[in-house]
């Protein structure tokens, strides 16, 4: 095992290099810890039970070059945090070689090391030196740091009186102004209000322009696709895929969907369903424009919802409907055949009906689909299947970024624009 840590980026060398790196942890952390235990084992000459190890990372090799913006995706427990901790130097590999060339700054623990009794200004010096800056370097940056953190007069107040927002803003501000070569981000940027988040994103763009290297761990594939130039999919301590963020997220999603499908067939009972059953909705499928059944789509693409039904006997004029909820529970849409003026005739046996969305207005996120069929007077529910399926929307052609839907509107003004939208 060797670990090399230099504080300058080396030309012709990757910024971060892992060669067959494994990291083991004991399963029982406090096992055999006290002297008493050791002593007893020695005296009784009993062999100590073998240590039970698990490996969050197994033989991982990875080279990250200067300027790479690497996204790391994978399920919980895949080894993502272990990877970040290795890069920061908080832990060392059990086996394998690791080299880090450049100053690392982690946004994982904003404000770690702040001293509550000291003022904001004093804490900037303390925190800056934790990141390895000297006094002169901090002197040069202090005005920018204070400015960025938007603390105003509070800068000379002990930070135990700060709100949590002020605390994190100061932490971020110090971290980003240390001019790191390597920035580690773990799902953060949920820092402060929307304005401040904007500022954080802008400063990360500035970091990119200066040629910085970023590692971003996130469950939000959309963020990874929009921020990163490269992505790895980490699972069970191995790198399953390494490449363009879009390709890697697709591969990951497909694997996840496959797994969810196998699980959901067993847990069907937990999805809520009621109705008289005179017409039952057997299945609901989501298809792309090409007719492929999928559970992820890009904003703006054509999506077709196909409901497969079966009627017991002849039913006249049923109304089919569906509802789309955001994962946070917001009810976004609820079209049905009645509202859209489609009056069905007699329905008999098996059949299908489709709802076509020419351009999906949803923005990135996870959405659920609920489907229902009721009688012509909306007094008898034949079948209601709450959250029969879920799908994910990725950032596509839509230029909107915030919220859940793209309104599809446009701007106009008497001011002569310098450029017009494409």
């Amino acid at each position: 095992m060797t670990v090399v840590r230099r504080y300058e980026v080396q030309p012709d060398e990757p910024v971060i290099h892992l060669h067959n790196v494994s990291r083991a942890f004991r399963k029982q952390r406090d096992y055999d810890r006290s002297l008493q235990q050791r002593f007893l084992h020695t005296v009784t000459r009993r062999r100590r039970p073998p240590v039970d190890l698990f490996y969050p990372l197994k033989d991982v090799s990875l080279s990250i070059n200067a300027g790479d913006f690497l996204g790391v995706i994978g399920p919980n427990g895949a080894g993502k945090s272990t990877l970040l901790k290795l890069v920061t130097g908080i832990i060392i590999p059990t086996r394998g070689d690791l080299s880090v060339n450049g100053r690392v700054c982690s946004l994982l623990e904003l404000g770690a090391g702040f001293h509550p009794d000291l003022t904001g200004r004093e804490n900037i010096y303390l925190n800056g030196s934790i990141y390895g800056l000297n006094r002169r370097e901090i002197d040069e940056r202090i005005e920018q740091i204070i400015d960025f953190a938007e603390l105003g007069d509070f800068i000379d107040t002990p930070i135990k009186h700060y709100s949590s927002g002020m605390y994190v803003r100061l932490g971020f501000s110090v971290a980003i102004h240390t001019d790191p070569d390597i920035l580690l981000v773990d799902e953060v940027l949920a820092v402060g209000d929307v304005n401040f988040q904007q500022k954080c994103l802008r400063s990360i763009e500035g970091f990119r322009e200066r040629g910085g290297t970023l590692i971003l761990v996130s469950h939000d594939l959309g963020t990874i696709q929009s921020v990163c130039t490269r992505a790895i999919w980490l699972e069970d301590g191995h790198i399953h895929a390494d490449g363009a963020p879009l390709d890697v997220s697709m591969a990951y999603l497909e694997s996840m969907a496959h797994r969810e499908h196998t699980q959901s067939t067993e847990s069907d009972a937990t999805t809520r369903r009621w109705g008289t059953g005179r017409i039952s909705i057997e299945a609901a499928e989501l298809r792309g424009a090409d007719g492929q059944v999928r559970d992820f789509f890009h904003s703006g693409e054509t999506v077709v919802v196909r409901l497969h039904f079966r009627a017991e006997g002849v039913i006249s004029g049923p109304i089919f409907g569906l509802a789309i909820h955001h994962q946070n529970g917001a009810h976004l849409a609820g079209p049905n055949t009645d509202f859209d003026g489609l009056v069905l005739g007699d329905v008999q046996g098996e059949g299908w009906i489709e709802y076509v969305v020419p351009a999906l207005p949803l923005l990135e996120g996870v959405y659920t689909l609920t489907v229902a069929v009721v009688d012509a007077t909306n007094t008898e529910t034949y079948d209601y299947r709450f959250r029969i399926g879920q799908f994910r929307v990725l950032r596509g052609t839509a230029t909107d970024r915030y919220g859940m839907i793209a309104l599809g509107g446009y701007w106009r003004t008497p001011v002569i624009p310098l450029s017009s939208p494409p």
């Binding site: 095992m1 060392i92 009794d117 800056g128 030196s129 390895g132």
Partner: protein, 281 residues
């Protein structure tokens, strides 16, 4: 696990020392925030670092000066102070330094920096306290017309030697305390014993020159100095400030070498295990 040979390689050690030098600003800031937070919430603030040894001096003067006059040395209060202040510095360094890593577990688990910064900053902040208290003692010595040694100019070196020695011990103890919290419990007793085995409140001349253990004759007075570097240090302080002697140069050098050896071992020991602090805490 880094091999022992690799750790001892000059390349590795210079890399670690250079890294430590990069973080000198952190040592300074930890030092000043230690001091600031210590005095911020107490009404008397810094005065406490003076009142504490003065109070102890009073206690020992009453106990040994009046209740047990046999132990009495001429100008006993000054005698006690010249030993007690360095001893307090040593004891405070050990007690605070032992917890320097464990007490900063939040930081150690979250951010990387050379971990030796923590014990070093702790010992240095005790040094600052000591120097402040010492300045006051110095005034007292002048007022009471103590006999200063012509070798008084060596005093800064003595303080340096003590700092190096204390840092070495603290490096070992702060490491052990990460892995075995028993260390702190054991040290409570050890420090008490150490205090009485060090001629702080009594003069070494009070000890029998030799004692017999079975058929062996042990030169007790010499042993105290050989086995106990703190006793040697305090003897030097007293030579300079109380007795007005000139310390033998070989005694001085021997004490310095012991301190350097202890520091080198402590630093090696700390580097050997500090990589594991992040996961053990």
């Amino acid at each position: 696990m880094t091999g022992i040979t690799e750790l001892l390689s000059p390349l590795h050690v210079t890399a670690r020392v250079r890294e430590l030098w990069r973080y000198r600003e952190l040592i300074r800031n930890l030092l000043s925030s230690n001091l600031k937070s210590r005095y911020k919430n107490s009404a008397l603030g810094f005065v406490w670092s003076l009142l504490n040894p003065l109070g102890m001096m009073l206690v020992f003067t009453i106990v040994f000066g009046f209740l047990m006059p046999d132990v009495r040395v001429e100008n006993y209060p000054l005698f006690v102070l010249t030993g007690l202040l360095p001893w307090n510095f040593f004891q405070a360094s050990i007690n605070a330094g032992m917890y320097s890593v464990v007490g900063s577990s939040n930081l150690v688990k979250k951010v990387y920096f050379p971990r030796e910064v923590l014990p070093i900053a702790t010992v240095l902040s005790q040094l600052v306290n000591f120097l402040l208290a010492f300045a006051v003692l110095f005034v007292a010595l002048v007022v009471f017309q103590a006999s200063f040694s012509p070798w008084l100019w060596t005093l800064p070196f003595v303080i340096l030697i003590q700092t190096v020695f204390s840092t070495g011990v603290v490096l070992v103890l702060s490491t052990l305390n990460v892995f075995y919290r028993d260390t702190a419990m054991i040290m409570e007793v050890v420090m008490l014993a150490w205090f009485f085995l060090t001629p702080v409140v009594y003069s070494v001349a009070l000890l029998p020159e030799t004692i017999s253990v079975g058929s062996f004759t042990v030169p007790l007075q010499r042993m105290v100095y050989i086995l106990n570097p703190v006793a040697s240090l305090i003897a030097i302080y007293r030579d300079l400030l109380y007795w007005g002697y000139r310390t033998d140069i070989d005694f001085f050098v021997r004490t310095a070498l012991t301190a350097i050896a202890v520091f080198a071992f402590g630093y090696w020991f700390f580097l050997r295990y500090s990589d594991q602090f992040g996961e053990e805490l």
